[in-house]
């Protein structure tokens, strides 16, 4: 889902940074509050970031004959919400842009909006709905992680298509179909793999540290809530 340096017009880079900014600021405020008021949760915060680091580094083969990587944002968004997830995702995106030239700094806002904000937000909604409906942790995390992953790539396809519409006058529907076939179709099996892996870890947590899920239960869908 990394949009490479130079593939979004400057105006879109600004727009996506503007969209990212409020979520990121709320995330910083919430993260500082968590670390100050609940220092015992430092390890869980680190764990949430660790999954993004680990899983987003794994390039996996897909049914389209190309490779892509999962995002690993499921744990972070379920425990700490969209704001904190956007901060943790940005750290990983900067690491990749700086060292591996994957993504870029001009496209950091767009990449954060897809990977750290909108994709995870939809995953979090699935988590909350499934948990309310009485689904167990395994099933709820499977859908939260898989949907967050898949929607990240759908958002990337939208971002690229919008850029093509304004820059070269492409038809939005045509561009979306092409971009979705590149990004989203490739991502379907990877989203399933990510869903299974994170669901297994969530099951491990549920059986060994069930208390941790109190954090997830108190977490709000509202991305601008700084309540901890």
């Amino acid at each position: 889902m990394h949009i490479m340096e130079g593939y979004l017009d400057p105006i879109w880079c600004v727009v996506w940074f503007a969209v990212m900014a409020p979520f990121f600021i709320v995330g910083i405020i919430k993260l500082r509050k968590i670390l100050a008021e609940h220092p015992e949760q430092k390890m869980t915060v680190a764990l949430s970031g660790a999954f993004i680091f680990l899983i987003s580094s794994l390039k996996l083969p897909s049914v389209t004959g190309s490779c892509a990587h999962p995002t690993g944002t499921g744990i972070a968004v379920v425990f700490y919400g969209v704001g904190v997830c956007s901060v943790l995702s940005t750290i990983v995106l900067i690491f990749q842009a700086l060292l591996i030239a994957h993504g870029g700094f001009t496209t950091l806002g767009a990449n954060c909006v897809s990977m750290g904000i909108i994709g995870p937000l939809i995953g979090l909604i699935f988590w909350k709905v499934l948990r309310k409906a009485g689904a167990n942790v395994f099933i709820s995390m499977f859908f939260a992680a898989a949907i967050a992953d898949l929607m990240t790539y759908v958002v990337t396809a939208i971002q690229m298509s919008l850029n093509l519409v304004t820059s070269v006058g492409a038809n939005f529907i045509d561009a979306m179909i092409d971009m979705l076939s590149v990004y989203a179709v490739t991502q379907i099996p990877l989203a399933i793999v990510e869903g299974i892996v994170l669901a297994m870890f969530a099951h491990y947590l549920a059986t060994s540290r069930a208390d941790i899920f109190e954090i997830a239960d108190s977490n709000k869908i509202n991305p601008f809530s700084t309540e901890v």
């Binding site: 083969p61 892509a68 060292l99 990004y183 793999v193």
Partner: protein
């Protein structure tokens, strides 16, 4: 407990079968979808207005170095997850020991 083990065994087996199955039966060069997205934009006549500035500093990264940097990224995550699981199981053992006393 046996049910827990079964969840992990089946979960890892499904992941392995999916990855190996795709590699074995789907033909392709397995290039990155990130690059494919850029190429798709270029088919519409889009010309990137900026090249990776990192390339200007240390040139295009050789595949081996890129793989090493991805491995470093994986390792950072894996070390933290491993530490969490280690401390968690130690805590469980200590709690079980205290309860036995």
């Amino acid at each position: 407990m046996a049910n827990d083990k079964m969840i992990y065994i089946v979960g890892f087996a499904v992941v392995a079968i999916m990855v190996v199955g795709i590699l074995a039966f789907v033909p392709g060069d397995y290039g990155g979808s990130d690059d494919a997205g850029g190429e798709e934009a270029e088919k519409y006549g889009y010309v990137p207005w900026l090249t990776d500035w990192i390339d200007a500093i240390y040139g295009e990264l050789p595949g081996e170095i890129e793989a090493m940097l991805f491995a470093v990224q994986s390792a950072i995550g894996a070390v933290i997850i491993g530490y969490f699981i280690g401390t968690n199981s130690a805590r469980k053992k200590m709690a079980a020991g205290a309860a036995a006393e």
